[in-house]
């Protein structure tokens, strides 16, 4: 018997089958989509698992640690050999990973979670619910770690990263060019002194725009935070409240705006071709930046290589702190790590054991004179009298170690980094750029960025 044909040409028998298939698919999909996070109205967003140290005398096992690729990866790779010489039972799988793009997905899905991760300080706060609280294991060392680094890793009383480097802000200057203009850098003790020196240099060389005015939104916010850290503040306080509308930020923004208004600033992105060109032509001779700027004379500059020196930042008021922190990284241990205790053992060796930190900072195949783009956050390792890296030839043989370590001691604490810091770049970083282009006033930056950060970032957490 022929099945009854409908007008559409479909058979009556096929329709129920199709219907069943659709219902089955819908049920399957609904079931699958329920595999996501629990939906509840009152469950806490995160736990507070506190890591305890292992008492194992002869630890055994394997850990996977992530570092970003590049020079530091090679440096850590060399240090790992020293670790495994001390702990032969532990195998370290060292992986070079694009951490920014991989970490979040890995932590959310819980798949192939590493035992330890190298992470920018500004990003630690965003991951705390996935990380071990290291407060207890760090307790014996906390008093000896730079306060600024403890603060940036502290969220709600827990410490979520093993501090690695301290990145003090320094004033880099072209000593040869200043000397030709008759300017004594030792006379620059405050930011007003720096303005005066810049004006004097511009009179000597009219084409010059002596002070660096950063043109990248992220880096400009990072630099702003260096200035703020110098004044003992930061975008958010320990209570998470926004501190942008404050006399300190007003003072910093007004100073930057003055540099712009008086035509004393070079608008360029950090070490992009325009910047390198202005530095090498001695039009840009003052660079208030983190210690890692010393990479420029060593690797980027040609005509002015050897002419650069570093000194402490000017103070905002006479007698004030001569440095602030800019950037920095720590090591975090995910809660889903297979061997978190071994991972802690590894980072403890790297940062707090003399064999470990000399392995990281001391002379190695990558940096024959020692790793000189930061200094250790662990203060017993940062002794001005016991340099871990040698004077830098490309900076006229200056002992940058001593300058940086002494500046590092001046960085005030009290500036935690909120979880939304990177997101604030869309607002504060962008508005800062507009101000440096003359489109906003300092007060407008504070008002507009403050409102946007509050609405789009803080209120939505």
């Amino acid at each position: 018997m022929n099945p009854t044909l409908r007008r559409s040409g479909r058979t009556a028998r096929l329709l129920p089958r199709r219907g069943t298939a659709v219902v089955a698919a819908a049920l399957l999909v609904t079931g699958l989509s329920a595999c996501g996070p629990d939906i509840s109205s009152d469950a806490p967003a995160s736990g507070n698992a506190v890591l305890q140290a292992s008492s194992d005398e002869a630890p055994k096992g394997e850990i996977t640690v992530w570092d970003r690729s590049g020079d530091l990866y090679k440096v850590f790779d060399a240090a790992i050999k020293k670790f495994t010489a001390k702990y032969p039972g532990v195998t370290v799988k060292h992986e070079a990973v694009d951490i920014d793009s991989k970490l979040q997905n890995t932590l959310i899905t819980g798949t192939d979670v590493p035992d330890g991760v190298f992470l920018d300080d500004a990003k630690v706060g965003g991951y705390v619910s996935h990380l071990w609280n290291l407060k207890d294991v760090l307790a014996p060392y906390t008093k000896d770690i730079a306060k600024q680094k403890v603060d940036v890793n502290t969220v709600n009383g827990g410490i979520y990263g093993v501090p690695f480097d301290l990145d003090p802000g320094l004033l880099f200057y072209n000593a040869k060019a200043l000397s030709a203009a008759g300017i004594d850098p030792n006379g620059i003790k405050t930011y007003d002194d720096l303005l005066a020196a810049a004006k004097k240099y511009q009179q000597f060389k009219p084409s010059a725009k002596p002070i660096h005015l950063e043109q990248n939104a992220f880096n400009s916010q990072l630099q702003l935070e260096m200035f703020a850290s110098q004044l003992g503040t930061g975008l958010a306080g320990p209570d998470g409240k926004l501190r942008l509308d404050s006399p300190q930020y007003h003072q910093i923004l007004t100073w930057l705006d003055t540099v712009r208004k008086e035509g004393l600033g070079t608008r360029a992105e950090y070490l992009k071709p325009s910047d390198v060109s202005a530095l090498d032509s001695a039009d840009e001779v003052f660079y208030p930046w983190a210690i890692w700027f010393d990479f420029a004379p060593q690797q980027q500059l040609t005509a002015t290589k050897g002419d650069w020196r570093a000194m402490p930042l000017p103070a905002w008021t006479a007698g004030g702190a001569r440095s602030g922190a800019m950037g920095g990284s720590s090591f975090v241990i995910p809660k889903d790590a297979k061997n978190p205790k071994l991972s802690w053992l590894f980072y403890r060796f790297l940062m707090f054991d003399q064999a470990g930190y000399t392995g990281v900072y001391g002379p190695n195949a990558v940096y024959p004179g020692g790793l000189n783009t930061s200094i250790p956050a662990y203060q017993p390792a940062a002794d001005p009298a016991k340099p871990l890296f040698r004077p830098i030839d490309a900076m006229g043989g200056q002992d940058v170690w001593k300058t940086a370590v002494e500046a590092g001691r001046e960085i005030p604490g009290g500036a935690p980094i909120p979880a939304w810091w990177s997101g604030a770049v869309d607002y504060l970083g962008t508005d800062l750029q507009k101000m440096l282009d003359g489109a906003l006033t300092p007060q407008q930056v504070i008002d507009k960025a403050g409102k946007d950060i509050q609405t789009n970032l803080i209120d939505r957490k």
């Binding site: 360029a268 202005a278 869309d426």
Partner: protein, 316 residues
């Protein structure tokens, strides 16, 4: 009829030989329809499973996520349409959508015209045809990061080759990547250079479907080359062009890597595209808002694509 005429003796004689023969077809009759019934499903099952796992499931998962405030850990809270309300009232969402719209205007119409012209030329030339075809596809297969880096160097305000050439003819330097007025056209140029070869390929395949007789007839009627292009080639390429238009619209609204590498979405978020804005939510672990954003983007792109399809169909 035949069985009635068979004698019992014959019946006894035939039974052992007939039994297997008659049973086997009966078994086949029972199993064959089932196998036939199942066969298409079995053949399409791998695709269905992959489709469910990588398309349907993520779609439903994202839809569910878009009604929560999930930040990647812990429990998610059901917040209804709050994410959608936030986005639709946020200046950031509209301005990035506007950025994508402007980029679309700068890229797609020019790309369609260029692709038709290049494809017609490629179709017409006789010598080194293969070489030229490959030459136009090379940018499409060149890694984007390499192209982006070249763009950064070429269009640097102070040391770029483009400004050097402008300087050579007495023109002032332009802040190609550092001023909000120029950043979008510069990015659009990169996208044009990178993807026009792909559209050329689609148009070229469309051109090869056109009956040569039409051109001969038009030629006999006295139509010139421009007239043939306008009255034969372009109308008969409509389906290829519609396909390219929809594909490129999707690509422009999802544009991410180009602004991410070249301008980081700046200056002043002037090159933050809808795709980059979506990514920013995700990297901030604001996954609920990111999910809602992706759905809004899908709706916008679908609406625009359907509009094109309808407009071009109406002319058919």
């Amino acid at each position: 009829m035949t069985t009635r005429s068979v004698s019992p003796a014959t019946k006894v004689f035939r039974e052992p030989a007939v039994e297997p023969r008659t049973r086997a077809p009966r078994q086949r009759r029972r199993t064959l329809p089932l196998r036939r019934l199942l066969a298409p499903y079995v053949f399409v099952l791998p695709f269905v499973l992959v489709f469910l796992a990588f398309s349907v499931y993520p779609l439903f998962f994202t839809l569910r996520l878009s009604f929560t405030d999930w930040h990647g850990s812990g429990a998610a809270h059901w917040i209804g349409f709050d994410n959608y309300r936030y986005l639709l009232t946020s200046s950031g969402f509209w301005s990035t959508l506007g950025n994508s719209g402007v980029l679309w205007l700068l890229i797609v119409p020019a790309q369609m015209v260029l692709a038709v012209l290049v494809a017609v030329l490629l179709n017409a030339i006789k010598r080194l045809r293969g070489f030229y075809r490959v030459a136009f596809v090379v940018p499409f297969v060149t890694p984007l990061v390499a192209v982006a880096q070249i763009w950064i160097v070429l269009f640097d305000q102070d040391n770029g080759a483009v400004n050097a050439m402008l300087g050579a003819v007495g023109l002032p330097p332009v802040g190609w990547l550092v001023t909000s007025g120029w950043a979008k056209p510069t990015l659009a140029l990169l996208f044009l250079w990178k993807t026009t070869g792909f559209v050329v390929l689609i148009v070229l395949s469309g051109l090869q479907q056109i009956d040569r007789g039409l051109y001969e007839a038009a030629s006999l009627d006295g139509a010139g080359r421009m007239r043939q292009l306008w009255s034969i080639t372009v109308p008969l390429l409509r389906r290829s062009l519609m396909f390219s238009l929809v594909l490129q619209t999707l690509a422009v609204f999802q544009m991410f890597a180009e602004p991410y590498v070249v301008t980081k979405g700046g200056p002043y978020t002037s090159t933050t595209t809808a795709g980059l804005y979506l990514y920013n939510h995700i990297t901030r672990a604001d996954l609920g808002t990111g999910a809602a954003n992706s759905f809004l983007l899908v709706i916008v792109v679908m609406a625009v694509s359907l509009l094109f399809v309808r407009l071009l169909r109406a002319e058919d």
